[in-house]
């Protein structure tokens, strides 16, 4: 019997939502780690019972929690994130040099093949990995030591490494994205990196086409086409067909191309989803209408998906890691809001229903399809 497990990180704890393959009735477990911020919870593709969670607090710092039974029980593992060598400086908001300081883990990306290997994207931006189930963490410092590091600067949410994508066909290739430095690619398993921001245009930086400095909000890939990436930039929805060597804008007829979340259909690699947000100073949907936009053509041509979503007086946000899909035959799409709702569609976005609606502000949503 197939089933779905939705892993939800919120401002005040983690929740695990489970359903059978019908996706009609949902069991809600949580809050786990009540009162802590759960930036991200994600399961291992190699062992769905192995989950990792980033738990943090302004008072007590960073914890990493691990579950080996699908989220029923958890245990803290290593939380020592120390930059390799002398960290140096990046740009502060005012353009002055500011020392690199570890603040929190934004994103955990388990290996596609080894449950004990997991990557962590952190603020201030750096990439760490663990090969012992999260007990010990080592920085892949080639990224931070890329010559452009001193030019990186924080976005409003902090200088976070928030996206990590592992190429399923090439274990040497990793993509990451940083707000506000941009996207980077490694072709040697994280030892060395190159910026992949050609084609991005950001009017809010001195050189709109600079090599680094772009506020990339999120990137997604369909596993069948690892050279095709879709990006929600601060403004602009972009795609690349050559692993980031060149990006082209595919915002097309979107009513606003600002947003955070972007994801791709599990079975249709040209079908992508975004949640347009009014602007960077108004982090809520246009006209109080919560609408997911879907393109079945890999961008440019978009349709609004509204059935089941509030179409008046809705002023929530959908954050960058708060959208995910399942891999059941009829692809399920899920997203969480800062208003505490998690919406699900079991028909690829045509119809939506809230599967839980009064959680703390949702920071992240990940989905596991259980066989």
């Amino acid at each position: 019997m197939s089933g779905v497990r939705v892993l939800v990180g919120t401002r005040k704890g983690a929740f695990v939502l489970t359903s059978d393959g019908k996706r009609e009735k949902w069991d809600v477990s949580g809050p786990h780690f009540a009162g802590w911020e759960l930036f991200h919870v994600k399961g291992s593709p190699a062992d769905p019972n192995r989950l990792y969670a980033s738990q943090c607090s302004g008072w007590f710092g960073q914890m990493i929690q691990r579950s080996d039974d699908g989220g029923k029980t958890w245990a803290p593992v290593g939380n020592k994130f120390v930059y390799d060598g002398v960290p140096g400086t990046h740009q502060w908001y005012d353009g002055t040099a500011h020392p690199w300081e570890f603040k929190r883990v934004w994103h955990l990306e388990p290996s596609l093949t080894d449950p004990d290997t997991v990557y962590a994207g952190v603020e201030d931006a750096a990439l760490f990995h663990s090969t012992d189930g999260g007990q010990n963490w080592e920085e892949l410092s080639g990224l931070r030591k890329h010559g452009s590091g001193p030019k990186w600067q924080p976005g409003a949410g902090g200088m976070c490494l928030h996206t990590i994508i592992l190429d399923p066909t090439n274990p040497e290739r990793i993509f990451i994205a940083i707000s506000a430095a941009g996207a980077f690619r490694s072709d040697d398993a994280g030892k060395t990196w190159q910026p992949i921001n050609r084609g991005l245009k950001s009017e809010y930086i001195p050189d709109p086409e600079a090599e680094v400095g772009h506020c990339v909000h999120h990137i997604t890939m369909h596993k069948s086409r690892p050279n095709v990436l879709f990006m929600q930039k601060h403004w602009d929805v972009m795609r690349t067909d050559n692993a980031g060597d060149l990006w082209t804008e595919v915002s097309g007829n979107l009513p606003t191309d600002f947003g955070f979340a972007i994801d791709v259909h599990a079975h249709e690699p040209e079908t992508i989803y975004v949640v347009p947000i009014k602007s960077d100073s108004e982090h809520y949907p246009l006209d109080g209408k919560l609408q997911v936009y879907r393109s079945k053509t890999g961008g440019n041509e978009w349709e609004a998906l509204t059935r089941g979503l509030p179409q008046s007086d809705c002023y929530v946000n959908v954050l960058r890691d708060a959208m995910a899909v399942d891999t059941l035959d009829s692809c399920g799409v899920y997203f969480g809001t800062t208003g505490g709702q998690v919406y699900a569609s079991k028909d690829a976005g045509d119809n939506w229903t809230p599967i839980v609606r009064d959680l703390p502000a949702v920071l992240s949503v990940e989905v596991q399809t259980l066989g």
């Binding site: 302004g58 008072w59 007590f60 710092g61 939380n79 020592k80 120390v82």
Partner: protein, 98 residues
């Protein structure tokens, strides 16, 4: 035995209830107490003081015997009443909403 009162979230994290009682050998200082605390509850490493610098985390304070000891050297002797177990060392989180 040295008595330590932890903030609620740290009690949950280390699975303890009420005060923690610790044996501290040698001089009873904040550093010695935290070393003993972290030896007993390794998951608390990094939550009260930073991993590398060993600096107190900025939203935490150390109180004892109606005094704020937060700015004292971590190697300063704690009050006799703490050393004898008559009074606890309080680790307090900043009051904040949200």
């Amino acid at each position: 035995m040295i008595r330590v009162v932890l903030p609620a979230h740290l009690r949950t994290l280390c699975g303890c209830q009420g005060e923690v009682q610790l044996e501290v050998r040698g001089a009873v200082t904040v550093r010695a107490v935290l070393d003993a605390l972290e030896d007993r509850f390794p998951m608390l490493r990094g939550t009260i003081r930073e991993h590398v610098t060993q600096q107190r985390r900025p939203f935490l304070r150390f109180f004892a015997c109606a005094e704020d000891l937060s700015q004292d050297s971590p190697d300063a002797l704690l009050p006799e009443a703490v050393a004898t177990g008559a009074e606890p060392l309080l680790i307090i989180g900043a009051i904040a909403g949200g």
